[in-house]
Symmetry: C2
Subunit: 353 residues, 2 copies
């Protein structure tokens, strides 16, 4: 519970904050959840750099709660999720009950490329809200307590958003072997890993810009009666421990194996669920084959991850960018919708703007 | 143990038998085994008609065991499997110790189309051997005891061969809910199912004629440390019960759902195994999408199954053959290697030739 009273905004009249927060790509996937946005297994991701959301949150003191406005629009497509979010968190931010809320939000990347804009959107919004709370409380600084709170608030909007309040690599969800890990918020794991992984590149190979055929909610729902659910959750913990070990040791080969196994496990779980949706596209399979052939031929440590959609994230180190990006442009780009590739990389995290 | 003495062939000098046996397509998959060709879960298949193996087995009494000859060749590619097979079963057929063995075997379908020739090969060979034993014993007739013995002998050569000694539909492996089911041999389940399923058609859409990238042995081995193995074996039993129910009730919609779920579960298990092989080809995914679209547009009960390879088996009833085969020729044939489609159907089982 916040120590702020419901009238906390009154002396300020209005207040606003602006943050940009990155999207992130999970390497150990969040797939299956319990009520209150509690994950069935811990997940590990890295934050992107070029793909982010910039959000400005403005609150004006108001005796009567008014409809939320997003980008000047009371009927913005983001409204239903946002309304739920503000309803869910009001208990922690009582001053929202006496505020008219305006959100201005902009993604640096098209909505349709299959990168989760909800992660960067809710992370940036949560950072704004937590900054406003800080200022209302007269506190200063954006240290780890601040980020933890922002992460836990972001989580309410979208589970994966909890990870987007940090740069580098982060883990969300309790893992017995990882001190301080919790289901409530994400924690950074960057300090413990081999620095070369901070130079990780991600070429997002956009196979399709069609809207997702499986929403996140429907995806999580597939796990509810999935016959492999319990085995999956146990496996994810083992894989996360193994991936942390590979990241610490700088073991690129293990890193790639684990990333690909997780990606194909996710799609294996999707394919073997009750409604057997098929999210991979023919081009996705072609890319997988080509990436593996390229790796075998060149010996370069290049691999991939895949989210719950057809797009392939090509993973490689900064030091191999020239060869790998030549390959991507020559062999993979033509398989992308309109040749669409986003060359992004592991980023440094949110910024106050 | 056979009651025949080791010298049983001596009075006959030589003896031969010839059978043809069909290939079969599993709808509930055999994927994972224990020692001595014991399956981790029961499987259900139907026998094909046009795809079969014709085998002649000739034994000549011989004081000294001579090398086996296959199609006149002591170095035939089938030799290693065949030598193992005869070594394994000699304890049950002691007269083999004093026989020179000649096998003449021919498949009605190319080795490379991804249809398991080992099933029809070992089934036809086992039928020959059991017939010879019958004649040496002075017994007659090829009733259910004979077929059970042939099935258990065929199983030693190849698990799926145990199912190929019957026409129609068959189950191999113990299932608590299915009387007489056993891991030792397959049993026919045809009498209990809706007769319309005996008119099931299978258009084998040959995506690739390349040799299998994953052998059966390596496939089963993937399950040994698969994190979902136990859940899979439990699920397979539930699915088999559900499929038997659908077959009995004539429930085509449930039949199709279960077939597709099993097929995609198999590939999900393969993709999520330690070495994450990808056996589906881009064309396989295109076909799956097209088949599902065709089903949705026409309302016709058409579905698919897939073995551990890229080829798609299009399943439909005899009564819908005109529409479905027009569709297959118009939309799917072009995706096959050299337009190769085998139009086959549920068959009546082995024949003595």
């Amino acid at each position: 519970m916040s120590s702020l009273p419901v009238d906390a905004l009154k002396p300020f009249g209005s207040i606003s904050a602006a943050w940009k927060a990155p999207s992130n790509i999970a390497l150990i996937k969040y797939w299956g959840k319990r009520p209150n946005q509690i994950p069935q297994n811990p997940s590990l991701s890295f934050s992107l750099s070029a793909c982010y959301t910039a959000t400005t949150l403005s609150l004006i003191y108001s005796e009567v709660r008014k409809p939320i406005v997003v980008n000047g629009d009371e009927n913005h497509p983001f409204m239903p999720k946002l309304t739920n979010f503000f309803n869910d968190i009001e208990i922690n931010f009582p001053f929202l009950a006496k505020a008219s809320i305006s959100v201005i939000t902009e993604n640096s990347f098209p909505h349709s490329v299959g990168i989760a804009s909800s992660a960067s959107s809710f992370a940036s919004l949560a950072l704004c809200l937590c900054e406003i709370e800080q200022r209302l409380l007269g506190n200063e600084g954006f240290g780890s307590d601040f980020l933890q709170k922002a992460s836990s608030v972001a989580r309410i909007g979208s589970g994966s958003a909890s990870r987007s309040v940090y740069g580098g690599y982060q883990v969300w969800g309790y893992l017995a072997e990882l001190p301080n890990s919790t289901n409530d918020y994400a924690i950074p794991v960057t300090p413990s890993i081999d620095p070369k992984f901070l130079g990780l590149r991600d070429a997002v190979l956009v196979v399709s810009t069609k809207p997702k055929s499986l929403s996140s909610s429907n995806g999580h729902a597939l796990m509810v009666d999935h016959p492999y659910a319990e085995a999956r959750y146990a496996e994810a913990k083992l894989s996360l421990n193994a991936l942390l070990k590979a990241l610490k040791k700088g073991d690129l080969s293990a890193f790639i194996n684990l990333c690909e196994q997780e990606a194909l496990t996710l799609h294996g779980l999707i394919m073997s669920s009750r409604t057997t949706p098929m999210l991979l596209a023919p081009e996705s399979l072609l890319m997988i084959t080509k990436i593996r052939e390229f790796r075998q031929q060149t010996g370069l440590p290049v691999g991939f991850t895949i989210d719950a959609g057809p797009n392939i994230h090509l993973l490689y180190l900064e030091s191999h960018a020239p060869e790998v990006e030549s390959f991507a442009n020559a062999e993979l780009k033509a398989l992308c919708e309109n040749g669409y590739v986003i060359f992004d990389k592991c980023g440094t995290g949110p910024e106050r703007i």
